[in-house]
């Protein structure tokens, strides 16, 4: 019953404003200053997945969403991607998923409840979603009703081997924040920027492996 009701709310949300994240009114807002407070307030927080004792009803409702609205979520990601291409100013808000969020038609991102009414910046963890590729969990940052950041807290892995590989490789990577600046350089390295035919070929090479 709870699950069904939730799905209906989500559906209405899409119909009314398909570019907005759905608002789940049945989840009580966590305290405004809680930036990662999953463990602190499991019953009130939306961070049902990561908390040791999540609210059972909220968990069930959210997980149900992933199944019901999978296709819609894929679409909305595409819309954000398009926005990124058209206009670099506003799109990165959501269009910049990390590698794991990007790799999945990620149910976690869009189903993490946003609380548009929240006045201050707030981080909300989505539930842990388990599928064939591993566990995924997103954290969104909401500011004044607008999602300003989407992060992946848990990166799914495909099998035991990739768990091992990731464990070995990822920690030695250094986090950076880069901004585009004017530098005096001899050349610029970027993706091949030429004929559509060449791009088509890259597609051909990789689209096919069954590809």
């Amino acid at each position: 019953m709870v699950a069904g009701g939730c799905a209906a709310i989500v559906g209405a949300g899409w119909a009314a404003s398909p570019k907005e994240l759905p608002s789940l009114d049945l989840v009580a807002p966590s305290s405004p200053e809680s930036s990662a407070g999953a463990e602190a307030s499991p019953s009130a927080s939306a961070s049902v997945g990561s908390s040791p004792s999540p609210s059972p009803s909220a968990t069930e409702a959210l997980d149900d969403d992933h199944d019901d609205d999978h296709e819609d979520e894929v679409e909305i990601e595409d819309e954000h991607e398009d926005g990124d291409d058209d206009d670099g100013d506003d799109a990165p808000v959501v269009a910049a998923p990390t590698e794991t969020a990007a790799a999945e038609p990620d149910p976690v991102v869009t189903s993490a409840p946003a609380e548009p009414a929240q006045p201050a910046s707030q981080s909300v963890d989505g539930p842990v979603v388990t599928n064939a590729r591993g566990e995924f969990q997103a954290r969104i940052t909401v500011e004044g009703g607008t999602v300003t950041d989407v992060q992946a807290i848990r990166a799914g892995t495909q099998d035991a081997q990739s768990v091992q590989i990731n464990a070995r490789a990822i920690p030695i990577l250094r986090e950076e924040v880069l901004a585009a600046q004017s530098w005096d350089v001899a050349a610029v390295s970027g993706a091949s920027f030429t004929s559509p035919g060449f791009l088509e070929s890259v597609r051909g090479a990789f689209a096919s492996a069954g590809l």
């Binding site: 991607e81 990124d84 291409d85 670099g88 799109a91 990165p92 269009a95 910049a96 998923p97 990390t98 590698e99 990007a102 790799a103 038609p105 590729r133 300003t148 950041d149 892995t157 495909q158 990739s162 590989i165 490789a169 990822i170 030695i172 990577l173 250094r174 986090e175 950076e176 924040v177 880069l178 901004a179 585009a180 600046q181 004017s182 530098w183 350089v185 001899a186 050349a187 610029v188 390295s189 970027g190 993706a191 091949s192 920027f193 030429t194 004929s195 035919g197 060449f198 791009l199 070929s201 890259v202 597609r203 051909g204 090479a205 990789f206 689209a207 096919s208 492996a209 069954g210 590809l211």
Partner: protein, 259 residues
């Protein structure tokens, strides 16, 4: 006049190739570039999939065997298979019907091969900018920018997100992804559009290897990165864009940034 840098651009494979020669022999510079250009044009005639009369097209139609084609065709097709192995499947030129589409590495392979021609210019240093991939040689280092992933078209002259030094330990640099090819690279495992990273840059000493790994990581994601480390390559992975226009990125410890 031997103290200047000779800089020119040639077109091949529907792409611009920038050639820079430091202090070249003034008589030999242009012939050397012409020979370089001719090699690229030849490679296009052998490998182009957009020309019906290329050897590769004829081979894929079953009209000729590998033995009837220039031996370089076999060499490149075998290289594709080799890179499929070392990239743990991330670089995969096989099409669904079992034929091979080596276009992903043909450019890097052709540039590396043709670069030998530049020796005739007796330059103290040289650089080839091959539509986003860079190969340098000689005795001085060069600062190379990493394109802003959101920039479309030729990134030359646009603000860059990082600067690396090529010419010492690292002589080759390749970048995949970004605004140019988003949605054009597929994950070979899932078959889905690859959005692991916004942009992937790989620095090393072999342009073909850098090119193959940049494409492989863009397509295959984090699971390919350790294979690149095993080959001694360094990577810069742009993981996401921020709302203020900055980027989140990860770099390997040896990434030759000069920021």
């Amino acid at each position: 006049m031997t103290t200047e840098t000779f800089r020119t651009t040639v077109q091949a494979m529907a792409m611009p190739f920038v050639v820079e020669l430091d202090e070249p022999d003034p008589v030999e510079a242009e012939p050397a570039v012409a020979a370089f250009h001719a090699d690229l044009v030849w490679a296009d005639e052998v490998f182009s999939l957009w020309k019906d009369d290329s050897y590769l097209s004829a081979y894929l139609r079953g009209e000729i065997t590998l033995d009837e084609a220039p031996h370089e065709l076999r060499e490149v097709l075998e290289a594709c298979e080799w890179y499929r192995g070392v990239t743990a499947g991330g670089f995969d030129a096989r099409r669904a019907d079992g034929t091979l589409d080596p276009t992903g590495i043909v450019k890097g392979w052709a540039v590396a091969r043709a670069s030998v021609r530049l020796r005739a210019a007796r330059a103290s240093g040289w650089m080839i900018g091959a539509s986003g991939d860079i190969l340098v040689g000689g005795d001085r280092t060069r600062r190379i920018g990493i394109a802003d992933p959101r920039v479309t078209g030729d990134p030359a002259g646009t603000p860059v997100i990082d600067v690396v030094e090529l010419g010492g330990q690292f002589t080759a640099l390749a970048t995949s992804g970004g605004a140019q090819v988003v949605d054009h690279i597929w994950d070979p495992v899932t078959g889905e559009v690859a959005r692991h990273y916004m942009q992937v840059s790989v620095a090393g000493r072999d342009l073909v290897e850098c090119d193959a790994f940049a494409t492989a990581i863009a397509g295959g994601g984090p699971r390919i990165v350790p294979a690149a480390f095993e080959r001694g390559l360094e990577v810069l992975l742009v993981t996401g864009g921020r709302y203020d226009g900055a980027y989140d990125a990860k770099t390997s410890p040896g990434w030759p940034s000069v920021r």
